[in-house]
Symmetry: D2
Subunit: 370 residues, 4 copies
């Protein structure tokens, strides 16, 4: 199956998409090799450089043309968040499959519009919840589903980074709610929600608090600009299956670089995971003599598919970009007729309802039903 790709954006995620496109068929023999057709960025020169570097046939600075191009079957949207909305709408209108980074848009309404457009266009979508594709997480999901820790009784999750921890990090337009959308919740919190959904299912309601700790930041002109979106947020959540949980996120936790960590408590055991050690899973089971019970550190390996598509030996470690390749493989399988696997835009919208619900609850002080 011939699948032409247009990649919009050449930043962190743009490069990650490009690497995934180049690796996916070499890693997974069961998916087609995408045809790298159009690289799109601004200015054009930048697009051209990256087209050459990433191996795309053409470069453009006109994303609308790229999206509409008849040689294109898949559009990768990796631009700043405020551009996702228009691009996804255009791609859906053009009947292209869409691989878009999170969050969908700056507001929940944007996201709802995007979801509807994609759904009505009947195209396939994959939203960039890359951490859900980690073989360790998929393994945890299987263990939970198979009852390895019994009925789930509680969930805790955290996602912390420190990219805004320094009060003197410069102000930018991203500090504005109107242009940058949510803060830590939008950047990080939605990843946490994705893991919660994948591991233990939907969230029913949230009760939250949030705070902008560094309320202004230095501007280039010597003054200080206001920060409107939250530096941190915490929520008491209730899951549809009746158990409770806690979700916390912050972008000002010094020393945390990608601390996306979850704890799942069950009637028979506990599972813990931390993305900073993405190749490890902690499992405690109440079995055998207490004298030899303990949390075990499971090292990712070929018995945790699809780790083996990359490396035949355990303990050799996948990296961040390998997750992206797995995500792409899942998307390609869906496009080529396989079952949906991984968060499409409809599922992603559910995640975003949770983070916007958290924001609303924090503003009102009342529990918000999702």
């Amino acid at each position: 199956m011939d699948l032409g790709v247009a990649l919009i954006g050449s930043g962190f995620m743009g490069k990650s998409h490009a690497l995934a496109y180049r690796a996916v068929r070499a890693a997974f023999g069961d998916v087609p090799a995408p045809r790298l057709e159009i690289m799109c960025d601004r200015p054009l020169e930048r697009a051209e450089i990256f087209a050459s570097q990433f191996g795309f046939s053409r470069a453009t600075d006109d994303w609308r043309a790229a999206v509409a191009d008849p040689a294109i079957d898949i559009v990768s949207v990796t631009t700043p968040n405020d551009l996702h909305h228009d691009m996804v709408l255009a791609a859906a209108a053009a009947g292209k499959h869409i691989w878009c980074e999170k969050p969908l848009g700056l507001t929940l309404e944007d996201g709802e519009r995007m979801e509807r457009a994609v759904r009505e266009a009947g195209v396939h979508s994959m939203i960039g919840y890359n951490y859900t594709h980690n073989p360790t997480i998929q393994h945890a999901k299987r263990l939970i589903a198979e009852g390895e820790i019994g009925r789930v009784t509680h969930f805790r999750g955290f996602v912390d980074e420190d990219y805004q921890a320094d009060p003197e990090t410069p102000w930018s337009w991203r500090c504005l709610r109107s242009r940058g959308g949510l803060g830590a919740l939008g950047d990080l919190g939605c990843h946490l929600v994705s893991l919660a959904y994948v591991l233990v299912g939907p969230i029913e309601s949230v009760l939250a608090d949030m705070q902008t700790v560094h309320t202004d930041r230095p501007k280039r002109d010597g003054g200080r600009g206001p920060v409107e979106n939250e530096d941190l947020a915490s929520a008491l959540v209730r899951f549809r299956d009746g158990f409770q949980g806690v979700l916390c996120t912050t972008r000002i936790a010094w020393g945390r670089k990608n601390k996306l960590a979850v704890e799942v408590h069950g009637e028979k055991g506990t599972l813990c995971f931390d993305q900073e050690r993405l190749n490890e899973l902690q499992l405690f089971r109440n079995e055998g003599h207490t004298a030899v019970q303990g949390f075990r550190t499971i090292l990712a390996g070929p018995s945790h598919p699809p780790y083996g598509a990359f490396i035949p030996g355990a303990g050799h470690s996948l990296g961040f970009n390998d997750q992206k390749t797995i995500e792409l493989a899942a998307f390609l399988r869906t496009i080529t007729g396989g079952a949906k696997s991984g968060p499409d835009i409809t599922e992603a919208l559910e995640y975003e309802k949770v983070i916007h619900g958290i924001a609303r609850s924090a503003e009102t002080g009342a529990r918000v039903v999702i």
Copy 2:
């Protein structure tokens, strides 16, 4: 200074008090050696056995007599929680100094009555918040106070155990709110609050959720009895100094044995501690080149007083009972004229207001001001 001791109770904490009384002056040359006078428990035979084992001169099964005995200056209350109230009132009435385990009583009203009695009697008190006396925690407190991590911006704390994780653990009267008081909050949560207070100061308000996960437990007669107190509770808290925090506790987290863990985020760094590794402190500071930044694991040692009172070499590790000896030394110094150091009953009441506030908020769904 001659200080006669009556110890009531010979369980976990009774033994820990006894070991502390025996060790305190050998470890700390600056405090008097307590005179171990009366061991009190029921039945009398048990008290006699422990009097011999722990080195007390006399044994009794009559705690009122023990408390009133003129040879007694200090009363150690280590009985089940529902007995604390009467014993503390009697000891205060008799003008004895009081070393009592937490929580104060089953209800906040009990605690308030106890605190008033002790305050009005003018006796000294120490409530058993042993973890606050850990040299590592004291060091963390100093580092925060000295600005090592800058202004505090966020706090997270957890205290988890698994002693009720098995749904088939038998029912007992402790499962009743009227006789056992709070659940995880009373057993564990108040310890967490004590660390929060010691490290970052008072809590202003709480917004909470809680749950009894295992709602009944097997009784001896083959039926099942109801569990009235909470298996877990979580709270969004606001500290008096303006920052937010999260406090969580559960008694059903498989594999957790004494997971009393805190994270303190500051403008310049982060401090983390976990009581399961009580001789370690994690510190991140935003200083020097990013290429060599990282969380450092500080091993407790003589530069963290009063560790050196026990061991002159770092990395050799204090144990749980050593914390209790430090607590006792602090109490003896207060009794012999030194400054208060460590939570007395007035401070302990503050902690309990928080856990009862959490319970109330969880019941009402509304934020509770402490």
Copy 3:
């Protein structure tokens, strides 16, 4: 610069080479994109499948033809160890640059012949010591070179796996010294030597012991076959710079999957690394107040080049195959006129002299000068 590639072998390392060839220019803009020309394996059908999967233009089962093909500039040798010798000799004779997996050959004599052939042919070579290319290791190397831990005083290194830990793992011809070469030393030990060289320099002499613990293994016919090569080896080494060290390897350490771990002691500090957590580096420095000293865990990030070529954010983790891409980039830079960076065949031969020296010392009981 147009560089045509022939890849021989499609196993663990074959796939890793293929992924690297596909990723290298997308990750690193400063190197040419290799042209994937010939995939070679047996039977031909297998080569054809992998040519399609990995994106090679042609497939063959005739490695001699592939090596001699005028469209080829670089030959990747990823076959079983006993085939390296002939392939490298042929590739050198054909004037091709050679990317070959370790060890060079089954015997030191083989290796010496290969090194001479490559040297005399004047072609470039890179031997697959992928762990030396890990940004964390490169960072450690820099820290040591810059005196961050002072003069090196001691070195310890370990490399353990468990692929032969089960005594009932079937016998194969690899158990024979004549056909499989060295055991744990050849498979694993040479990687450890590579890290030692890269971090702290050449080894002068070794005094060693080794053991075949499981001396026979089950054969398919129901009998048992002899194991001739070592399950483990340990050596007391002296480095050229005057300090001592210890090198240990085993293939029978249950639970170890890629435990390639080193400790470098210096006059001012200590550096530790463990490949099972390849994105972390442990650093202790004797600086500042002892009360805040401790081993710090440095998470790999953009300040550890070339991590940033893959991911702009720290703590997101590179994987095993990313190391291989870095290795290839280094090789391509050498081929295109840059300085040598990473172990070529001449340096690799030095490593192999050490492991063969260890084997010889273990046999004689006497110290062997390398």
Copy 4:
């Protein structure tokens, strides 16, 4: 049974003995409470202060008188190493039971003389190998004996500290071989040997290397004095049961405070322990599906006797001094008619033969049979 104690020395170990004497019967109901009779140190004033602090009835600066005193049944020898020899000989001659810190003496000949004297006197002895009494180590010993990891195949052990890591730490007479005896081997290495013996049995031969890294140190007069004993030593050992092992020690490993760590490899699993986390044991077993295998961290608790003598809850942690109390309890049981438990002087001499064998092998370069 009335047992009068004379304690000689009030340093690290003196205090630890005192705390153990005070705690032992409170912790263990089945042993007699020792009578603290004589505290001996120099000058007399110091002895008097410590007699008061530690609760001894009398003080003296005359150790010969203390040892000979008819009120004394047990003599604790905790003085600098060069005094052990004469004190043990005198105590044995006086028919007293002896609790002496390691190493026995400065030379192996001293140790042999001491062992013979004690044996011929028929008194009981306990040598201060406190780490062997850690419940975690005793648990590991049981697991190994019960076959939990199968037949032992390999052993690795390390004991590292940094008390001589700074090249400018002042010279003292302890740097002289004649007055200080061995270096790291005598201070630390013998502890490692004790764990090896306890866990996996006797050592048959050693092949070693050692080094004095900092060959001179600053003297008070401004000059520099020579360091004669080793800063580090490493040995390839063969155990009586046929497997090999590695033992390493250094006193110049920055950041290591009490890094007494062992790895025991077996046919079915692996056990690891690190004294810096003395309440944890790492266990890997080859059982169940590989997808859930991993090293488990066992937290010490009541299922690891005699932990429960101190604390009824797991994960609450024993400390260094608790080990000493366990050691004393074992000694008291032996004295009062129980079986020997823990290293007496005859067993301790075996350990010392190993460290002196290592020193000799390092000097000659040849394997030394113990």
